[in-house]
């Protein structure tokens, strides 16, 4: 329990530092939110009055702590660029990105685990070799490019979905889910390849272990040894990888969202960086950082469930 509290405390510390760094970065980079908002027709007076309205004329630290206190109270501020409360803006978009990530994650788990086991079982066989070679190829494609290829294949070629016509989940949830399958696939493909490779080598690494020999000596069949003994041990590094992947996908959704024209938080992040809309940027980065940290935390817990040795020592 103490451990959990310690972890939580360090999570909060991490998030605090992240928030400060983002604030600092936005103070340093060129570009002024008010000028960005008002565009070419603005007069200096307009800019000044907008800066005053947004409180940008105050010293850096005061702005930071002002933001921090509001944030802690649950007020994420007002989006300059989208002209509405950040909370309101993000609440509609989080689900989109989360859906994308979860769908991709489900694909990764449901495809790569059976495939990894299969490849390990038939190590050296023709199928294993072809899986490994295609894995290497799939890992060699940048995600945005695989996104384009999928758009072309399933969207333009096979007309499974209408490219670029994101369906809002408020209008048609089913259509939304269907549309998300393809970007999720684009996100998942390279990760599936990595995961298959990892699981395969993890299983093969477990195979020469003494306990496997013990299991055989009790009369277990190979399949029984695999599923009853090896798999859980082999999953330990895979869980770490999956956790990192999950975190990675949250952050990496930025590019795929652009390819598939999905208005998720990644798109918002890019737009808001472009327009120096830092209350929104701050909120999105905090959200992503939180997800990353939280996923790491969850991995830690799953780790403890999977591996009883971890439960004892900190």
């Amino acid at each position: 329990m103490r451990d959990v509290i310690r972890k939580l405390a360090s999570m909060i510390l991490t998030l605090l530092i992240v928030s400060f760094l983002v604030f600092l970065a936005f103070d340093l980079i060129p570009g002024d939110p008010a000028i960005a908002k008002l565009g070419t027709q603005a007069t200096p007076e307009q800019v000044a009055s907008l800066r005053a309205e947004w409180g940008l004329d105050r010293p850096f630290l005061i702005r930071y702590f002002d933001w921090l206190f509001s944030f802690v109270r649950g007020d994420m501020g007002y989006s300059y660029h989208f002209d509405r409360a950040v909370t309101e803006l993000l609440s509609g978009k989080i689900l989109i990105t989360v859906t994308l990530v979860i769908m991709a994650f489900v694909m990764i788990v449901s495809v790569s685990i059976p495939m990894g086991i299969f490849a390990a079982r038939h190590q050296g066989g023709a199928l294993d070799k072809s899986i490994m070679v295609s894995n290497q190829l799939l890992m060699a494609i940048p995600p945005f490019f695989s996104g384009i290829l999928i758009t072309f294949l399933f969207g333009v070629g096979l007309s499974f979905f209408k490219p670029g016509s994101f369906v809002s989940y408020t209008q048609n949830f089913g259509g939304f889910l269907f549309y998300m399958i393809f970007p999720a696939l684009a996100v998942a493909i390279p990760k599936i390849a990595m995961c298959v490779k990892l699981l395969r080598s993890s299983i093969l690494e477990q195979w020469p272990m003494d306990y496997v020999r013990t299991a055989y000596s009790r009369g277990n069949r190979t399949m029984q040894v695999l599923y009853r003994h090896v798999l859980r041990n082999a999953m330990i590094p895979v869980v770490t990888f999956l956790g990192m992947t999950l975190a990675d996908m949250v952050a990496g959704s930025i590019i795929i969202e652009k390819v598939f024209n999905i208005p998720g938080i990644g798109q918002i992040l890019i737009k808001c960086i472009e327009y120096r809309d830092y209350p929104t940027v701050e909120a999105v980065v905090m959200l992503i950082a939180f997800l990353v940290v939280f996923v790491n935390f969850m991995v830690d817990i799953i780790y403890r469930i999977l591996d009883p040795r971890m439960r004892q020592s900190s």
């Binding site: 980079i29 060129p30 570009g31 002024d32 939110p33 000028i35 960005a36 908002k37 008002l38 565009g39 070419t40 027709q41 603005a42 007069t43 200096p44 007076e45 307009q46 009055s49 907008l50 005053a52 309205e53 002209d83 509405r84 803006l89 509609g92 978009k93 489900v106 788990v109 449901s110 495809v111 685990i113 059976p114 758009t151 969207g155 333009v156 499974f160 209408k162 490219p163 670029g164 016509s165 994101f166 809002s168 408020t170 048609n172 089913g174 259509g175 889910l177 269907f178 399958i181 599923y227 390819v259 024209n261 208005p263 798109q267 918002i268 737009k271 960086i273 472009e274 327009y275 120096r276």
Partner: protein, 505 residues
């Protein structure tokens, strides 16, 4: 083993779900295509509040929802809108408007003189706290309600061109949250806005003028330029304005392509206060080295109108064709450079905003062309916000490729910025002759004299090579053949009310 089975179930579920949903999605479009249209825009609205929205991309959509006392027609003329009659005073120091009968806001209430006063005061920020929302309104002394149907606008300083600013939207005084609830008088009513996704409009059945043809308009935001063609060809959108020549060449046969001009002055803008561009000979040398036709051929299949000064053809009477001031002449350019002491050429930076591919392309071609006279251009892509604050506001640059547009269809919208002490004179242009000519143009009320003075300004800009003028870029608009009736405006406007189903009369 359990895991595997679980995964299988999940997969089946996903597939089953997707099967279910394909049925849903494909149904809703085909049947009543004629009464609805989906259009694409490249960037999201920055506000629904017509007085606070600044992006051109937002204004061209809000044009359909809001109207001012006057509005622009497709020829660029100002025509009465919410007002039915305008009577300016002789000297241009006050304008009196008579409101049109029967103009209703979208919420059903009638437009009153109080609403007009409220709207104009709001933009002029007459309470004095902050800067005026419409800069030109700082010139408004007062807005007087004469009676229920009459409003007079009094100016501090007489301005004969002021009417163009009164396209400013009239909104109901009762609407306390204009940024959330758009209520105007235009041909379309606002229905919903989902940021980064779409804006939905509905036909205003009570519109005072010619009513729109299409009932439902969905405006989709397609932020990624590369997916526009795919979205058009794939049928997600029926309409997209401002396509590039390359994009047009990749469209399927389902589209009518309208060709027009962007109505902006694309140029290599030079910082006239910075070395080496403080020397007119260097600027002229660059002009001589520039082959505009080659640029057009390279970037837009030869489409686009070469221009020679800060004025584009849509301005009609004010426009003179100066595009031949500097025909391509490498020898002359080299001679000028030699004269200016840059015999061995020099290196300079072209700063371009990274979100405008056409300008980047132009810069790339320019870089190649300047190699011929031994001048090395280095291209630096910067974010739009950085460009605005560093280049445009901060004037920290040597040169930049950008397109300058006109906020209203008056010559000052393009020419005022080159007056030495103008706040938006980002190229630091400083020429006494120009200042004098411009002052003359503003003062006079005689139209011929005014036109002559403006033309003189244009000529001075061209002769002193204030910038390397390139073109008014070609604009391509794709409209699905199911529809027709697209009309170009000389300003940033997409008039959706004129689009009609192809089978309707």
């Amino acid at each position: 083993m359990k895991l595997k089975r679980f995964a299988c179930v999940l997969m089946t579920l996903t597939i089953a779900l997707s099967g279910l949903t394909t049925g849903c999605t494909s149904g809703d479009k085909d049947g009543k295509a004629s009464s609805s249209i989906t259009i694409g825009i490249p960037q999201d609205l920055d506000s629904l509040d017509p007085h606070k929205a600044v992006a051109a991309g937002t204004k061209e959509i809000l044009f359909n929802i809001y109207e001012g006392l006057v509005k622009v027609d497709s020829d660029g003329n100002l025509v009465p809108a919410v007002a039915s009659e305008v009577s300016p005073s002789e000297d241009g120091s006050s304008y009196t408007f008579t409101l049109r009968d029967g103009v209703k806001f979208h919420d059903g209430s009638a437009v009153t003189a109080e609403d007009v006063k409220y709207s104009l005061d709001r933009c002029a920020a007459s309470d004095g706290d902050s800067a005026p929302l419409v800069p030109a309104f700082s010139n408004i002394k007062s807005v007087d309600v004469k009676d229920a149907k009459t409003v007079t606008v009094n100016l501090e300083n007489p301005d004969t061109e002021f009417l163009a600013n009164l396209t400013t939207a009239i909104i109901p005084a009762s609407n306390k949250e204009p940024e959330k609830n758009a209520i105007g008088t235009g041909p379309y009513k606002y229905v919903s806005w989902t940021p980064l996704e779409q804006v939905v409009l509905k036909k205003n059945e009570d519109y005072w003028g010619e009513k729109a043809y299409i009932t439902d308009v969905t405006i989709k935001i397609i932020a990624d330029g590369d997916s526009i063609v795919t979205a058009l060809n794939g049928g997600s959108i029926d309409f997209f304005a401002r396509l590039s020549a390359d994009q047009v060449s990749q469209l399927s046969g389902d589209f009518t392509v309208y060709e027009g001009t962007m109505n902006l002055v694309q140029a290599l803008y030079l910082n006239n206060a910075e070395k080496p561009f403080d020397d007119v000979r260097v600027r002229q040398a660059l002009c001589y080295a520039t082959d505009v036709k080659a640029i057009l051929d390279m970037t837009s299949d030869g489409k686009g109108t070469p221009i020679g000064s800060s004025m584009f053809p849509a301005f009609g009477k004010y426009y003179t064709d100066l595009s031949n001031t500097y025909p391509k002449d490498i020898e002359k350019a080299k001679a000028l450079l030699k004269e200016a002491g840059y015999e061995d050429g020099f290196t300079f930076t072209i700063t371009v905003p990274s979100n405008y591919q056409p300008h980047i392309d132009t810069a790339l071609v320019l870089k190649e062309q300047y190699k011929e006279i031994g001048v090395t251009a280095e291209i630096q892509k910067v974010e739009w916000a950085t460009w605005l604050s560093d280049v445009y506001t901060g004037r920290q640059f040597t040169s930049t490729v950008i397109g300058v547009d006109a906020s209203t269809l008056t010559a000052p919208a393009l020419l005022s910025r080159f007056v030495s002490d103008a706040g938006n004179n980002f190229i630091n242009y400083n020429n006494a002759d120009y200042d004098a000519a411009y002052a003359r143009a503003i003062k006079t009320t005689d139209d011929a004299e005014k036109t002559a003075a403006y033309k003189e300004c244009e000529k001075i800009l061209a002769d002193t090579a204030a910038n390397v003028y390139i073109q008014d870029m070609a604009e391509f608009v794709a409209l699905n053949k199911k529809y027709t009736g697209y009309t170009f405006y000389p300003l940033y406007v997409q008039d959706l009310a004129k689009i009609k189903p192809a089978d309707a009369k």
